[in-house]
Protein backbone atom coordinates (compact mmCIF):
# COMPACT_ATOMS: atom_id res chain seq x y z
CA UNK A 1 0.00 0.00 0.00
CA UNK A 2 1.64 3.26 -1.05
CA UNK A 3 1.26 6.74 0.45
CA UNK A 4 -1.37 7.80 -2.06
CA UNK A 5 -3.62 4.88 -1.20
CA UNK A 6 -3.21 5.55 2.52
CA UNK A 7 -4.17 9.21 2.05
CA UNK A 8 -7.23 8.51 -0.08
CA UNK A 9 -8.21 5.68 2.26
CA UNK A 10 -8.00 7.93 5.31
CA UNK A 11 -9.97 10.63 3.54
CA UNK A 12 -12.69 8.14 2.57
CA UNK A 13 -12.69 6.83 6.12
CA UNK A 14 -13.20 10.33 7.51
CA UNK A 15 -16.04 10.96 5.07
CA UNK A 16 -17.62 7.67 6.17
CA UNK A 17 -17.25 8.77 9.81
CA UNK A 18 -18.99 12.09 9.21
CA UNK A 19 -21.71 10.36 7.24
CA UNK A 20 -22.13 7.76 9.98
CA UNK A 21 -22.48 10.43 12.66
CA UNK A 22 -24.97 12.60 10.79
CA UNK A 23 -26.99 9.69 9.45
CA UNK A 24 -27.22 7.57 12.58
CA UNK A 25 -27.87 10.53 14.90
CA UNK A 26 -30.70 11.73 12.68
CA UNK A 27 -32.13 8.25 12.47
CA UNK A 28 -32.00 7.83 16.25
CA UNK A 29 -34.08 10.99 16.62
CA UNK A 30 -36.53 9.84 13.95
CA UNK A 31 -36.84 6.48 15.68
CA UNK A 32 -37.60 8.21 18.98
CA UNK A 33 -40.37 10.06 17.17
CA UNK A 34 -41.72 6.86 15.60
CA UNK A 35 -41.71 5.14 18.98
CA UNK A 36 -43.47 8.18 20.44
CA UNK A 37 -46.17 7.94 17.77
CA UNK A 38 -46.61 4.25 18.58
CA UNK A 39 -47.23 5.23 22.21
CA UNK A 40 -49.73 7.93 21.09
CA UNK A 41 -47.26 10.69 21.93
CA UNK A 42 -46.06 13.54 19.77
CA UNK A 43 -42.41 12.67 20.30
CA UNK A 44 -39.31 14.89 20.17
CA UNK A 45 -37.97 16.79 17.18
CA UNK A 46 -36.05 14.64 14.70
CA UNK A 47 -32.81 16.47 15.56
CA UNK A 48 -33.20 15.90 19.30
CA UNK A 49 -30.20 13.55 19.45
CA UNK A 50 -27.92 16.27 18.05
CA UNK A 51 -29.15 18.64 20.73
CA UNK A 52 -28.49 16.05 23.43
CA UNK A 53 -24.96 15.29 22.24
CA UNK A 54 -23.93 18.92 21.77
CA UNK A 55 -25.48 19.91 25.10
CA UNK A 56 -23.46 17.22 26.85
CA UNK A 57 -20.29 18.39 25.11
CA UNK A 58 -20.85 21.96 26.38
CA UNK A 59 -21.21 20.82 29.99
CA UNK A 60 -18.36 20.48 32.44
CA UNK A 61 -17.20 16.98 33.23
CA UNK A 62 -15.65 15.61 36.37
CA UNK A 63 -13.01 12.95 36.13
CA UNK A 64 -12.54 9.95 38.38
CA UNK A 65 -8.88 9.35 37.68
CA UNK A 66 -6.85 8.87 34.52
CA UNK A 67 -8.06 5.34 33.81
CA UNK A 68 -11.57 6.73 33.54
CA UNK A 69 -10.61 9.60 31.22
CA UNK A 70 -8.26 7.54 29.08
CA UNK A 71 -10.74 4.67 28.78
CA UNK A 72 -13.36 6.96 27.24
CA UNK A 73 -10.88 8.19 24.61
CA UNK A 74 -9.73 4.64 23.91
CA UNK A 75 -13.29 3.42 23.50
CA UNK A 76 -14.27 6.29 21.21
CA UNK A 77 -11.08 5.91 19.18
CA UNK A 78 -11.51 2.16 18.85
CA UNK A 79 -15.11 2.41 17.72
CA UNK A 80 -14.37 5.27 15.29
CA UNK A 81 -11.48 3.27 13.87
CA UNK A 82 -13.80 0.32 13.36
CA UNK A 83 -16.40 2.51 11.68
CA UNK A 84 -13.76 3.74 9.18
CA UNK A 85 -13.31 0.21 7.86
CA UNK A 86 -17.02 -0.27 7.18
CA UNK A 87 -17.97 -0.53 3.50
CA UNK A 88 -20.79 1.92 2.81
CA UNK A 89 -22.50 1.53 -0.56
CA UNK A 90 -19.54 1.08 -2.92
CA UNK A 91 -17.04 3.02 -0.83
CA UNK A 92 -14.47 1.12 1.16
CA UNK A 93 -11.76 3.10 2.91
CA UNK A 94 -9.16 0.32 2.90
CA UNK A 95 -9.96 -2.21 0.15
CA UNK A 96 -8.78 -5.69 1.00
CA UNK A 97 -8.72 -4.95 4.73
CA UNK A 98 -12.46 -5.12 5.37
CA UNK A 99 -12.30 -8.68 6.63
CA UNK A 100 -15.11 -9.82 8.94
CA UNK A 101 -12.62 -10.53 11.69
CA UNK A 102 -11.30 -6.95 11.59
CA UNK A 103 -14.63 -5.84 13.03
CA UNK A 104 -14.65 -8.52 15.69
CA UNK A 105 -11.17 -7.52 16.89
CA UNK A 106 -11.36 -3.74 16.52
CA UNK A 107 -14.80 -3.64 18.09
CA UNK A 108 -13.38 -5.41 21.12
CA UNK A 109 -10.88 -2.54 21.57
CA UNK A 110 -13.75 -0.12 21.95
CA UNK A 111 -15.66 -2.40 24.27
CA UNK A 112 -12.61 -2.99 26.45
CA UNK A 113 -11.90 0.74 26.62
CA UNK A 114 -15.43 1.29 27.77
CA UNK A 115 -15.16 -1.50 30.33
CA UNK A 116 -11.87 -0.11 31.64
CA UNK A 117 -13.22 3.40 31.95
CA UNK A 118 -16.45 2.33 33.61
CA UNK A 119 -14.67 0.18 36.18
CA UNK A 120 -12.20 3.03 36.69
CA UNK A 121 -15.05 5.21 37.91
CA UNK A 122 -15.16 3.04 41.00
CA UNK A 123 -18.92 2.63 41.24
CA UNK A 124 -20.02 -0.95 41.99
CA UNK A 125 -23.03 -0.63 39.67
CA UNK A 126 -20.65 0.20 36.81
CA UNK A 127 -18.76 -3.00 37.57
CA UNK A 128 -21.97 -5.01 37.49
CA UNK A 129 -22.96 -3.34 34.21
CA UNK A 130 -19.61 -4.10 32.57
CA UNK A 131 -19.72 -7.69 33.76
CA UNK A 132 -23.19 -8.09 32.29
CA UNK A 133 -22.18 -6.44 28.99
CA UNK A 134 -19.22 -8.79 28.55
CA UNK A 135 -21.29 -11.82 29.56
CA UNK A 136 -23.92 -10.88 27.03
CA UNK A 137 -21.17 -10.45 24.41
CA UNK A 138 -20.13 -14.05 25.02
CA UNK A 139 -23.77 -14.97 24.50
CA UNK A 140 -24.39 -13.37 21.11
CA UNK A 141 -20.90 -13.67 19.58
CA UNK A 142 -20.97 -17.45 19.36
CA UNK A 143 -24.17 -17.94 17.28
CA UNK A 144 -23.34 -14.86 15.19
CA UNK A 145 -19.86 -16.12 14.37
CA UNK A 146 -21.16 -19.60 13.53
CA UNK A 147 -23.50 -18.08 10.94
CA UNK A 148 -20.81 -15.75 9.60
CA UNK A 149 -18.30 -18.61 9.30
CA UNK A 150 -20.85 -20.69 7.42
CA UNK A 151 -21.35 -17.73 5.10
CA UNK A 152 -17.59 -17.29 4.64
CA UNK A 153 -17.27 -21.01 3.87
CA UNK A 154 -20.17 -20.88 1.41
CA UNK A 155 -19.06 -17.81 -0.51
CA UNK A 156 -15.35 -18.47 -0.29
CA UNK A 157 -14.42 -15.00 0.93
CA UNK A 158 -14.23 -13.18 4.25
CA UNK A 159 -14.19 -9.62 2.91
CA UNK A 160 -17.40 -7.80 3.77
CA UNK A 161 -17.46 -5.78 0.55
CA UNK A 162 -16.98 -8.95 -1.52
CA UNK A 163 -19.66 -10.76 0.47
CA UNK A 164 -21.96 -7.84 -0.35
CA UNK A 165 -20.94 -7.89 -4.01
CA UNK A 166 -21.68 -11.63 -4.28
CA UNK A 167 -25.22 -10.98 -3.13
CA UNK A 168 -25.78 -8.23 -5.68
CA UNK A 169 -25.41 -10.64 -8.64
CA UNK A 170 -29.08 -11.58 -9.19
CA UNK A 171 -31.28 -9.14 -7.29
CA UNK A 172 -33.18 -10.11 -4.17
CA UNK A 173 -32.90 -13.84 -4.97
CA UNK A 174 -29.17 -13.75 -4.25
CA UNK A 175 -29.42 -12.00 -0.88
CA UNK A 176 -28.40 -14.05 2.10
CA UNK A 177 -31.84 -13.25 3.49
CA UNK A 178 -33.20 -15.64 0.83
CA UNK A 179 -30.21 -17.96 0.62
CA UNK A 180 -29.84 -18.45 4.37
CA UNK A 181 -33.16 -17.50 6.00
CA UNK A 182 -32.39 -19.32 9.26
CA UNK A 183 -29.03 -17.59 9.51
CA UNK A 184 -30.69 -14.22 8.96
CA UNK A 185 -33.09 -14.81 11.84
CA UNK A 186 -30.15 -15.71 14.08
CA UNK A 187 -28.29 -12.64 12.83
CA UNK A 188 -31.23 -10.38 13.69
CA UNK A 189 -31.56 -11.80 17.20
CA UNK A 190 -27.82 -11.31 17.71
CA UNK A 191 -28.17 -7.77 16.34
CA UNK A 192 -30.74 -7.03 19.06
CA UNK A 193 -28.21 -8.29 21.58
CA UNK A 194 -25.43 -6.14 20.11
CA UNK A 195 -27.59 -3.02 20.06
CA UNK A 196 -28.65 -3.61 23.66
CA UNK A 197 -32.31 -3.38 22.68
CA UNK A 198 -35.05 -4.37 25.07
CA UNK A 199 -35.08 -8.12 25.58
CA UNK A 200 -31.29 -7.93 25.89
CA UNK A 201 -31.08 -4.58 27.70
CA UNK A 202 -29.59 -6.23 30.80
CA UNK A 203 -26.42 -4.15 30.99
CA UNK A 204 -28.19 -0.76 30.80
CA UNK A 205 -31.24 -1.48 32.99
CA UNK A 206 -31.86 2.09 34.22
CA UNK A 207 -34.33 1.14 36.92
CA UNK A 208 -32.28 -1.77 38.18
CA UNK A 209 -28.59 -0.88 38.14
CA UNK A 210 -28.92 2.85 37.27
CA UNK A 211 -27.80 2.59 33.61
CA UNK A 212 -24.94 0.20 34.37
CA UNK A 213 -21.57 1.23 32.93
CA UNK A 214 -22.76 4.82 32.42
CA UNK A 215 -23.64 5.35 36.08
CA UNK A 216 -20.79 7.75 36.90
CA UNK A 217 -20.58 9.53 33.56
CA UNK A 218 -21.67 13.11 33.18
CA UNK A 219 -21.01 16.11 30.99
CA UNK A 220 -18.32 15.74 28.32
CA UNK A 221 -17.57 12.09 28.98
CA UNK A 222 -21.21 11.16 28.64
CA UNK A 223 -21.32 13.15 25.42
CA UNK A 224 -18.42 11.13 24.05
CA UNK A 225 -20.14 7.96 25.19
CA UNK A 226 -23.28 8.93 23.28
CA UNK A 227 -21.15 9.60 20.18
CA UNK A 228 -19.62 6.17 20.66
CA UNK A 229 -23.08 4.69 20.95
CA UNK A 230 -24.16 6.20 17.63
CA UNK A 231 -21.02 4.90 15.89
CA UNK A 232 -21.41 1.43 17.30
CA UNK A 233 -25.05 1.27 16.16
CA UNK A 234 -23.84 2.33 12.72
CA UNK A 235 -21.25 -0.46 12.63
CA UNK A 236 -23.65 -3.14 13.81
CA UNK A 237 -26.56 -2.24 11.53
CA UNK A 238 -24.29 -1.69 8.50
CA UNK A 239 -22.66 -5.04 9.10
CA UNK A 240 -26.08 -6.69 9.15
CA UNK A 241 -27.11 -4.88 5.96
CA UNK A 242 -23.87 -5.86 4.22
CA UNK A 243 -23.91 -9.47 5.33
CA UNK A 244 -27.56 -10.42 5.01
CA UNK A 245 -29.34 -7.82 2.85
CA UNK A 246 -26.83 -7.66 0.03
CA UNK A 247 -25.19 -4.35 0.96
CA UNK A 248 -26.26 -1.40 -1.16
CA UNK A 249 -25.33 0.09 -4.47
CA UNK A 250 -27.22 3.36 -4.30
CA UNK A 251 -27.97 5.79 -1.48
CA UNK A 252 -31.68 5.03 -1.66
CA UNK A 253 -31.14 1.29 -1.34
CA UNK A 254 -28.81 1.77 1.62
CA UNK A 255 -31.22 4.11 3.39
CA UNK A 256 -34.22 1.82 2.88
CA UNK A 257 -32.39 -1.27 4.14
CA UNK A 258 -30.77 0.51 7.06
CA UNK A 259 -33.96 2.24 8.19
CA UNK A 260 -35.90 -1.00 7.86
CA UNK A 261 -33.51 -2.96 10.06
CA UNK A 262 -33.03 -0.28 12.72
CA UNK A 263 -36.69 0.72 13.02
CA UNK A 264 -37.76 -2.92 13.17
CA UNK A 265 -35.24 -3.56 15.94
CA UNK A 266 -36.47 -0.51 17.87
CA UNK A 267 -40.11 -1.52 17.54
CA UNK A 268 -39.40 -5.10 18.60
CA UNK A 269 -37.63 -3.58 21.59
CA UNK A 270 -40.70 -1.50 22.50
CA UNK A 271 -42.93 -4.57 22.55
CA UNK A 272 -40.82 -6.69 24.89
CA UNK A 273 -39.70 -6.69 28.48
CA UNK A 274 -36.20 -7.23 29.78
CA UNK A 275 -34.46 -10.56 30.32
CA UNK A 276 -32.31 -11.23 33.32
CA UNK A 277 -28.66 -11.87 32.50
CA UNK A 278 -28.86 -15.62 33.15
CA UNK A 279 -31.97 -15.80 30.98
CA UNK A 280 -30.08 -14.00 28.20
CA UNK A 281 -27.28 -16.54 28.23
CA UNK A 282 -29.68 -19.47 28.48
CA UNK A 283 -31.68 -18.06 25.58
CA UNK A 284 -28.68 -17.43 23.30
CA UNK A 285 -27.21 -20.84 24.01
CA UNK A 286 -30.48 -22.61 23.26
CA UNK A 287 -32.34 -21.42 20.16
CA UNK A 288 -30.01 -19.08 18.26
CA UNK A 289 -27.06 -21.43 18.63
CA UNK A 290 -29.12 -24.46 17.56
CA UNK A 291 -30.45 -22.59 14.53
CA UNK A 292 -26.98 -21.28 13.71
CA UNK A 293 -25.49 -24.79 13.79
CA UNK A 294 -28.37 -26.08 11.66
CA UNK A 295 -27.71 -23.33 9.13
CA UNK A 296 -24.00 -24.11 9.10
CA UNK A 297 -24.69 -27.85 8.55
CA UNK A 298 -27.06 -27.03 5.68
CA UNK A 299 -24.45 -24.82 4.01
CA UNK A 300 -21.56 -27.22 4.53
CA UNK A 301 -23.16 -30.57 3.78
CA UNK A 302 -26.15 -29.83 1.55
CA UNK A 303 -24.57 -26.92 -0.24
CA UNK A 304 -27.78 -24.91 -0.23
CA UNK A 305 -27.42 -21.18 -0.25
CA UNK A 306 -23.95 -21.12 -1.76
Amino acid sequence: MNLNEILTGTLTGLIILVFAFVWQTTLSGVTRKIVGRFQKRYGPKFYQEFRDIFKLLTKTGVTHGWVYSFGVMMALGGIMGTAMFMPVMRFTAFPGLDNVFIYVYLFAVGMLGMAMSAVGSGNPLAGIGVMRALTQMVGYEVPFLVVVLAMVYGHGTASVSELAAVQQAAGIASWNLVRMPIGTVVGFICLLGMLGKKPFETFIAPAEIASGPMVEYGGKQLGMLMLLHEFSIFIEVSLFVNLFLGGAVTVVGFIIKYVGVFVLASLVSQALGRFKIDQVIRYFYRWPIALAVAQALIVVFLGWGV
Binding site: G36, R51, T58, A207
Partner: protein
Amino acid sequence: MGEGIIEKDKKLKEGWEGISRFFRANSLWMLMYCTGCCAIELPQAMTSRYDMERLGMGPMATPRQADVLLVTGYLSVKTLRRVIYAYEQMSTPKYLVAFGPCPINGGIYYDAYAVINRLDQYLPVDVYIAGCMPKPEAVMNGFQDLIDGIKNKTADGWKRYRDNYEWYRKNQIESLGELRIKDEFHE
Protein backbone atom coordinates in the same frame (compact mmCIF):
# COMPACT_ATOMS: atom_id res chain seq x y z
CA MET B 1 -3.73 45.63 21.29
CA GLY B 2 -4.17 43.67 24.52
CA GLU B 3 -7.62 45.10 25.07
CA GLY B 4 -8.59 44.17 21.55
CA ILE B 5 -7.72 40.55 22.22
CA ILE B 6 -9.63 40.57 25.51
CA GLU B 7 -12.63 42.12 23.74
CA LYS B 8 -12.47 39.48 21.03
CA ASP B 9 -12.10 36.74 23.61
CA LYS B 10 -15.13 38.03 25.48
CA LYS B 11 -17.22 38.11 22.31
CA LEU B 12 -16.15 34.58 21.46
CA LYS B 13 -17.08 33.39 24.93
CA GLU B 14 -20.47 35.07 24.70
CA GLY B 15 -21.09 33.47 21.33
CA TRP B 16 -20.19 30.06 22.72
CA GLU B 17 -22.46 30.65 25.70
CA GLY B 18 -25.30 31.58 23.38
CA ILE B 19 -24.90 28.36 21.38
CA SER B 20 -24.65 26.35 24.60
CA ARG B 21 -27.84 27.91 25.95
CA PHE B 22 -29.69 26.97 22.77
CA PHE B 23 -28.75 23.32 23.22
CA ARG B 24 -29.28 23.29 26.99
CA ALA B 25 -32.73 24.83 26.80
CA ASN B 26 -34.01 22.10 24.54
CA SER B 27 -32.41 19.07 26.06
CA LEU B 28 -33.18 18.85 29.77
CA TRP B 29 -32.56 15.55 31.47
CA MET B 30 -34.30 15.21 34.77
CA LEU B 31 -33.32 13.59 38.02
CA MET B 32 -36.49 12.99 39.97
CA TYR B 33 -36.04 13.15 43.71
CA CYS B 34 -39.49 11.94 44.65
CA THR B 35 -39.65 13.11 48.25
CA GLY B 36 -43.35 13.78 48.52
CA CYS B 37 -46.76 13.58 46.94
CA CYS B 38 -46.06 15.95 44.01
CA ALA B 39 -44.15 13.13 42.32
CA ILE B 40 -47.46 11.56 41.34
CA GLU B 41 -48.02 14.40 38.87
CA LEU B 42 -44.91 13.54 36.85
CA PRO B 43 -46.21 10.38 35.12
CA GLN B 44 -49.08 12.34 33.55
CA ALA B 45 -46.69 15.02 32.38
CA MET B 46 -44.39 12.37 30.91
CA THR B 47 -46.83 10.06 29.14
CA SER B 48 -49.04 10.52 26.12
CA ARG B 49 -51.39 13.14 27.54
CA TYR B 50 -48.85 15.94 28.01
CA ASP B 51 -45.74 14.29 26.51
CA MET B 52 -42.77 15.96 28.09
CA GLU B 53 -40.41 14.45 25.52
CA ARG B 54 -41.53 16.92 22.85
CA LEU B 55 -39.70 19.60 24.87
CA GLY B 56 -36.63 17.38 24.83
CA MET B 57 -37.02 16.34 28.45
CA GLY B 58 -36.52 12.83 29.70
CA PRO B 59 -35.79 10.91 32.87
CA MET B 60 -32.21 10.00 33.75
CA ALA B 61 -30.90 7.44 36.16
CA THR B 62 -28.14 9.19 38.09
CA PRO B 63 -27.24 12.73 39.26
CA ARG B 64 -24.10 12.79 37.13
CA GLN B 65 -26.08 12.45 33.90
CA ALA B 66 -28.88 14.84 34.77
CA ASP B 67 -29.37 18.57 34.20
CA VAL B 68 -32.48 19.28 36.25
CA LEU B 69 -33.10 18.17 39.80
CA LEU B 70 -36.81 17.93 40.56
CA VAL B 71 -37.63 18.25 44.24
CA THR B 72 -41.18 16.97 44.31
CA GLY B 73 -42.68 17.82 47.66
CA TYR B 74 -41.69 18.34 51.27
CA LEU B 75 -38.11 17.88 52.36
CA SER B 76 -37.33 16.40 55.72
CA VAL B 77 -33.98 17.11 57.30
CA LYS B 78 -32.84 13.66 56.36
CA THR B 79 -33.79 13.96 52.69
CA LEU B 80 -32.37 17.48 52.44
CA ARG B 81 -28.95 15.99 53.16
CA ARG B 82 -29.33 13.56 50.26
CA VAL B 83 -30.64 16.31 47.98
CA ILE B 84 -27.53 18.34 48.75
CA TYR B 85 -25.31 15.34 47.96
CA ALA B 86 -27.18 14.80 44.68
CA TYR B 87 -27.12 18.47 43.69
CA GLU B 88 -23.40 18.76 44.32
CA GLN B 89 -22.74 15.65 42.22
CA MET B 90 -24.46 17.05 39.15
CA SER B 91 -22.21 18.61 36.53
CA THR B 92 -22.74 22.28 35.78
CA PRO B 93 -24.86 23.88 34.40
CA LYS B 94 -27.57 22.43 36.59
CA TYR B 95 -31.04 23.57 37.49
CA LEU B 96 -33.40 22.91 40.36
CA VAL B 97 -37.19 22.89 40.16
CA ALA B 98 -39.23 22.82 43.37
CA PHE B 99 -42.79 21.48 43.34
CA GLY B 100 -45.63 22.51 45.61
CA PRO B 101 -45.81 24.82 48.62
CA CYS B 102 -43.61 22.75 50.94
CA PRO B 103 -40.23 23.91 49.53
CA ILE B 104 -41.58 27.50 49.41
CA ASN B 105 -42.69 28.02 53.03
CA GLY B 106 -43.19 24.60 54.57
CA GLY B 107 -46.74 24.12 53.36
CA ILE B 108 -48.83 22.02 55.74
CA TYR B 109 -45.62 20.93 57.47
CA TYR B 110 -44.76 24.48 58.58
CA ASP B 111 -44.55 23.43 62.25
CA ALA B 112 -43.03 19.98 61.85
CA TYR B 113 -39.80 19.35 63.71
CA ALA B 114 -38.28 17.30 60.88
CA VAL B 115 -39.34 19.26 57.78
CA ILE B 116 -37.55 22.34 56.53
CA ASN B 117 -39.48 25.48 55.65
CA ARG B 118 -37.55 27.16 52.84
CA LEU B 119 -35.51 25.28 50.29
CA ASP B 120 -33.91 28.42 48.86
CA GLN B 121 -31.97 28.89 52.09
CA TYR B 122 -29.99 25.72 51.37
CA LEU B 123 -29.94 25.32 47.59
CA PRO B 124 -30.64 27.80 44.77
CA VAL B 125 -34.08 27.22 43.22
CA ASP B 126 -34.61 28.18 39.59
CA VAL B 127 -38.34 27.58 39.23
CA TYR B 128 -41.12 27.09 41.78
CA ILE B 129 -44.29 25.34 40.70
CA ALA B 130 -47.21 26.25 42.95
CA GLY B 131 -50.21 24.09 43.78
CA CYS B 132 -50.83 21.32 46.27
CA MET B 133 -50.30 19.26 44.22
CA PRO B 134 -49.57 21.17 40.94
CA LYS B 135 -51.65 19.93 38.02
CA PRO B 136 -49.79 18.51 35.02
CA GLU B 137 -50.62 21.73 33.14
CA ALA B 138 -48.85 23.69 35.86
CA VAL B 139 -45.91 21.27 35.73
CA MET B 140 -45.58 21.73 31.97
CA ASN B 141 -45.91 25.48 32.41
CA GLY B 142 -43.15 25.43 35.00
CA PHE B 143 -40.86 23.53 32.65
CA GLN B 144 -41.63 26.05 29.90
CA ASP B 145 -40.67 28.80 32.36
CA LEU B 146 -37.41 27.02 33.04
CA ILE B 147 -36.68 26.77 29.32
CA ASP B 148 -37.40 30.49 28.89
CA GLY B 149 -35.22 31.21 31.90
CA ILE B 150 -32.33 29.30 30.40
CA LYS B 151 -32.75 31.15 27.10
CA ASN B 152 -32.73 34.63 28.69
CA LYS B 153 -30.10 33.81 31.34
CA THR B 154 -32.34 34.17 34.42
CA ALA B 155 -32.05 30.51 35.43
CA ASP B 156 -28.57 30.85 36.90
CA GLY B 157 -28.95 29.02 40.20
CA TRP B 158 -25.73 27.05 39.72
CA LYS B 159 -23.80 30.33 39.37
CA ARG B 160 -25.44 31.71 42.51
CA TYR B 161 -24.55 28.54 44.37
CA ARG B 162 -20.94 28.79 43.23
CA ASP B 163 -20.65 32.50 44.09
CA ASN B 164 -22.46 32.37 47.45
CA TYR B 165 -21.21 28.95 48.46
CA GLU B 166 -20.20 30.04 52.00
CA TRP B 167 -23.64 31.50 52.71
CA TYR B 168 -25.45 28.38 51.53
CA ARG B 169 -23.09 26.10 53.41
CA LYS B 170 -23.54 28.18 56.60
CA ASN B 171 -27.34 27.78 56.37
CA GLN B 172 -27.00 24.06 55.69
CA ILE B 173 -24.79 23.56 58.73
CA GLU B 174 -27.08 25.66 60.94
CA SER B 175 -30.14 23.57 60.16
CA LEU B 176 -28.58 20.17 59.65
CA GLY B 177 -25.68 20.18 62.05
CA GLU B 178 -23.01 17.96 60.54
CA LEU B 179 -23.53 17.60 56.79
CA ARG B 180 -21.88 14.19 56.46
CA ILE B 181 -23.41 11.55 58.70
CA LYS B 182 -21.25 8.91 60.26
CA ASP B 183 -23.29 5.90 61.38
CA GLU B 184 -23.71 2.25 60.51
CA PHE B 185 -25.50 3.09 57.24
CA HIS B 186 -22.70 5.32 55.95
CA GLU B 187 -19.54 3.31 56.23
